[in-house]
Symmetry: C2
Subunit: 155 residues, 2 copies
């Protein structure tokens, strides 16, 4: 379940040079090719590595504005709200949380004006009582995993 140091180095290597092959990776890590292949297989069937999907930048697609919306949901309407939000392409992510606000979602939009349209679409649904939105100005730490991998591989 936990990962060892070699796993950690492999993940770091893959994160740094994603299009690298198994053979090249084995050279860099100083181990046999079969070892890298076996580790990769294990990490993937473990679920540690979910996949190698392309990381698409919403800004480059024409959606430079990101915001987080906290939604308050009417009791018992959770499933309906989830289904509704799933149909909105600008909703990139949705979580249900503890606390008074029940859901947190990440939105993108073409502009600040467009964000209004997106929010209207998001909250224009019966089960949503109230929404409060925070627009992202800067992203000092973009989604990262390497530091955690390093910590996890030192056990």
């Amino acid at each position: 379940m936990a990962i060892d140091h070699l796993d950690g180095r492999l993940i770091e290597l893959l994160a740094h040079e994603p299009r690298i092959g198994v053979l090249e990776a084995s050279r860099r890590l100083g181990v046999a090719r079969g070892t890298v292949q076996a580790r990769l297989d294990r990490l993937q069937s473990n679920g540690v590595i979910r996949g190698f999907g392309p990381e698409v930048d919403p800004a480059a697609l024409g959606y430079p504005v990101t915001a987080f919306a906290t939604l308050e949901i009417k009791q018992g309407q959770g499933a309906d709200v989830r289904a509704h939000l799933t149909t909105v392409p600008e909703v990139l992510e949705l979580h249900t949380t503890t606390g008074h606000g029940d859901m947190l979602c990440r939105l993108v939009a073409r502009s600040n004006a467009d964000l209004q349209r997106v929010i209207d679409r998001v909250v224009g649904f019966d089960g949503i009582v109230r929404a409060s939105t925070a627009i992202v100005m800067e992203n000092p730490v973009p989604l990262r995993i390497i530091p955690l991998v390093q910590q996890a591989s030192e056990d």
Copy 2:
């Protein structure tokens, strides 16, 4: 800058079968290999596709608890707080947002008890006035981009 329908189909294909090669992709899309190669190069130098890094699941690394923390920052301490949060491996993401002088960060932890340790470490810093944390219970919509790609490729 914007992407066309072929770009969209290519990204979808890559998202669905990440380890696919250029040749196989060209067969699936019914175009020449050189075309796929050229599109991929363009999407990458465009910044639309940032990379193909491995998607690591924090839960599989032993960090099954996710939380979002809203931080209130003392005026003028922003840079220091950013630097501090960057050093905490459990901080996966950090945004500065509009609203009452705030930051929003995504945290993970080994357990609910461990989350307390992480939060203490995060807020145990001078520039942070107050923090409110929402623990994630469910993730009905995991981070996704395909619906947005589809919308963007229809123009």
